[in-house]
């Protein structure tokens, strides 16, 4: 069956793999800063609430 949806038009280049440890270190630091910001401002919603909608 001919399939008009199989475009195969995109090509994906080679790229460097993610440095997991550096990435997770950054994430943890960002989360720590966001937690601190949340604590400083009582009207800011809790960090855990940020992720609910996603």
């Amino acid at each position: 069956m001919k399939n008009t949806y199989a475009t195969n038009t995109g090509t994906l280049p080679k790229w460097n793999k993610l440095d997991i440890h550096s990435f997770l270190r950054e994430l943890k630091e960002t989360k720590r800063i966001m937690d601190e910001n949340d604590k400083k401002d009582p009207y800011r919603f809790d960090i855990n609430e940020r992720f609910v909608a996603q």
């Binding site: 069956m1 399939n3 008009t4 949806y5 199989a6 475009t7 195969n8 038009t9 995109g10 090509t11 994906l12 080679k14 790229w15 460097n16 793999k17 993610l18 440095d19 997991i20 550096s22 990435f23 997770l24 950054e26 994430l27 943890k28 630091e29 960002t30 989360k31 800063i33 966001m34 910001n37 800011r44 855990n48 940020r50 992720f51 909608a53 996603q54």
Partner: protein, 186 residues
């Protein structure tokens, strides 16, 4: 976590599934990574090791950036996102989303009585554009109907307060063609 790691590493089929493939990661996966980094580290590492690479698209980037509440947070999150290549938002994808969106909406409205988010529609359009080399990883399995996609692998991660069930998806062109027939009558 060890169970998940074992399943991923030992499973020849999982390695086969990821061989020469790229994995588009959903916003919910990024959020879970940030919230529970140690719980998702093994899954991330295995996907990264066995696939050609992990990536995002501009819509997923924007959606994830919503969690930033000031410039410093935004800058930090952007730096983290920059670790992943962002697939370009180009003509092919725009044409694909225009074609796929009504079909995607059709099956979601019939089955789940809900409308499809544009971010999800774009994710599917990217899968179609970069077929067969792009897979999609998400926890929002209900948002990605099997009338369009094949769920080729799945697993669960227990973070104590909840259990995340991830699904790895690829586009199914025959299913799309069937939906098109229903939609257009041709």
């Amino acid at each position: 976590m060890k169970t998940i790691k074992k399943i991923l590493i030992d499973s020849i089929s999982m390695k086969d599934l990821l061989l020469n493939k790229y994995v588009l990661i959903d916003t919910c996966f990024l959020s879970a990574l940030q919230k529970y980094p140690s719980r998702f580290e093994d899954l991330l590492a295995n996907l990264n090791e066995h696939s050609e690479g992990l990536c995002v698209n501009p819509l997923i980037r924007l959606e994830y950036l919503r969690i930033a509440k000031n410039a410093e947070e935004k800058s930090r999150i952007e730096n983290s996102l920059d670790k992943f290549p962002t697939l370009p938002l180009e003509g092919n994808v725009l044409e694909e989303v225009e074609r796929i969106y009504p079909l995607y909406n059709l099956c979601q409205s019939i089955r789940n009585n809900k409308q499809v988010s544009l971010v999800d529609a774009y994710a599917v359009a990217y899968l179609n554009t970069y077929t067969p080399r792009l897979l999609f990883l998400t926890f929002d399995n209900g948002d990605f109907p099997l009338e369009i996609l094949d769920r080729i692998s799945t697993g669960a991660i227990d973070v104590k307060t909840q259990i995340f069930t991830w699904g790895l998806y690829q586009i199914n062109h025959e299913k799309l063609a069937k939906l098109k027939k229903i939609y257009t009558g041709i």
